[in-house]
Symmetry: C2
Subunit: 333 residues, 2 copies
């Protein structure tokens, strides 16, 4: 568990996109952020107050989160100076970078000397059990996609936010690096050893109040041959009561697989639901989330309306329109 | 790759079952075995000549394979004396034990000093790629089960043996510890990091001659919630042209999951085939293997006959009857 609140380190991000992890944290957990730290030449801005380390300390920040992708997989000397100083001033560091903080000898040495923590969220920090498949109390919702990167995480985050706004019990359960940095905890499922994947998801979503919903972050797709095993483990470890089908309508082929077309929403439904019912016979498909980021307002509304009619399921773009419809659909489960 | 031929170390096995890895190697790769090594009190016998280390050396053995489960997860001092001497006499060691040879400081030190290899086949030794989903030349056959441990490995080994007996091109592709020790190579799929599972299976089954068959060792079951993600990765990474449905008719619930019943062969067929066709649209279910070890001859023949009629697919117990029928079925693919 990563201590909050955070100071978001944007470094020398060359553009807004490079700081999308920081943007995600700002969008979904604004109360966890006291400010942003930018180096000279930084072209990103997530709209938080610019702070020095001392400002952030005074504002109560506990952890400096690297909210930016590093160029060429190297943690530069310019970053290092700030990160070392942060450790010395009593901050922990958290990162989802491919190259690990713990593998940087200077950072590791300072962290040891100062007693601070380096959180590399790509690496599991828990010895997960093998899944036992036993029913748990409480309810669980999982977004499954026609492809990778179609908006499953944003769907679950938007549903969690809407449930909380309604005063209902809900937890977003992170299963990937960005999700973990947003919430401060979770499992890096893609880095878990094969035999323990489903057990890790069970561990993440334990017994809870009967009216509590876990909004489980989806990963991959049953139809994406590189990662379908990870998705399968989420479906069987999560044992969801409710599935949301997630889709991005403008994509011409599966992400990274030029030879593979996306399945229809009907095929996704008919594939995912029987598999989910192995672990939870009461599972239902309750709604559809469409990522319309690449569409105009008119196109988006038209696509959503047509899809809702065709599929007979509540359909929306939860980021563009809010997740009210999808949360309404949970009330019957 | 583990160097052959082997001397099979049976240690102080308390019964035949404890030496089932040695038995598997003897049954399926007799040409890889020069003899067996037994300590005083050993109750197992795989029917090979008893040899000292010196005998085995003279017979050309390169590797001492631990073909027995150790009691209580401890490599005993009695074993250690033999294993250290083996390293000193120039043998490599190979093991599928849960506790690793490399973690035994005395063995590791002697191996370093003598330049010998310690093969712990539970641990991946290769940095596998992420699956790219591209079609490969050659053909692939995968056994998928209604449950774990229903005879998938024996089915693939029996089919491989039958193909070779017919002079056809075939390779058994090991994906588990026993399979790797039997053949000397393969991937320990259950120990691979989630994101690389399907890529590991692609790596294991590369381009080959158009008339060559990879007989891929199956793992887990799509219906076993603890391990279904591993099975899914095998289906999409292996991209099989042919599926064999594997079943054990006397089992009352899924292995280790008392609350879960086994699916029917029809349900297995209707679940596995559409998933396999995502990666290989030409995939077909070609036959059924039944593990009848717990049935009398009459019961077995009757069950096999009824199943063949009901499912309309060639059906046999490949260990009891040979895999001829299943190999015949491949000829139309």
């Amino acid at each position: 568990m990563i201590e909050t609140p955070y100071l978001l380190f944007l470094g020398d991000a060359p553009d807004q996109l490079a700081a999308k992890v920081a943007r995600g944290i700002r969008d979904w957990r604004p109360d966890n952020c006291v400010g942003q730290f930018r180096l000279e030449g930084c072209k990103a801005d997530v709209g938080l107050p610019d702070m020095t380390l001392a400002d952030a300390k005074a504002a109560g920040a506990k952890t400096v989160v690297i909210g930016v992708a590093n160029r060429g997989g190297v943690i530069s000397q310019a970053w290092k100076r700030v990160l070392v100083e942060a450790l010395e001033e009593g901050f922990d560091l958290a990162s989802g970078l491919h190259n690990l903080l713990r593998d940087e000898e200077d950072l590791a040495a300072v962290a040891r000397a100062t007693g601070r923590s380096l959180h590399d969220v790509r690496i599991p920090s828990v010895k997960y059990p093998i899944a036992n498949g036993e029913p748990r109390t409480g309810k669980r919702c999982l977004a499954v996609g026609t492809d990778c990167s179609v908006g499953k995480m944003y769907t679950s985050l938007a549903m969690d936010a809407e449930m909380k706004a309604r005063g209902l019990k809900s937890s977003f359960r992170a299963t990937g690096q960005t999700g973990i940095l947003i919430t401060g905890e979770g499992i890096p499922l893609d880095a878990v050893i094969a035999d323990f994947m489903a057990g890790a998801v069970e561990w993440l979503t334990p017994d809870n109040d009967p009216d509590h919903w876990d909004m489980i972050e989806g990963q991959g797709s049953l139809f994406h041959v590189s990662y379908s095993g990870v998705t399968m483990a989420l479906i069987h470890g999560g044992a969801p009561d409710a599935l949301i089908l997630s889709h991005e309508p403008t994509r011409s082929h599966m992400r990274g697989l030029p030879g593979y077309t996306l399945p229809s929403l009907e095929t996704l439904r008919d594939t995912a639901l029987p598999l989910a019912r192995i672990a939870n016979p009461k599972c239902e498909v309750v709604g559809i989330s469409v990522n319309t980021a690449a569409m105009s307002e008119d196109e988006a509304l038209s696509y959503i309306g047509e899809t809702e009619k065709r599929m007979g399921l509540p359909t929306c773009d939860p980021f563009r329109q809010g997740a009210g419809k999808l949360c309404d659909a949970l009330s019957s489960i």
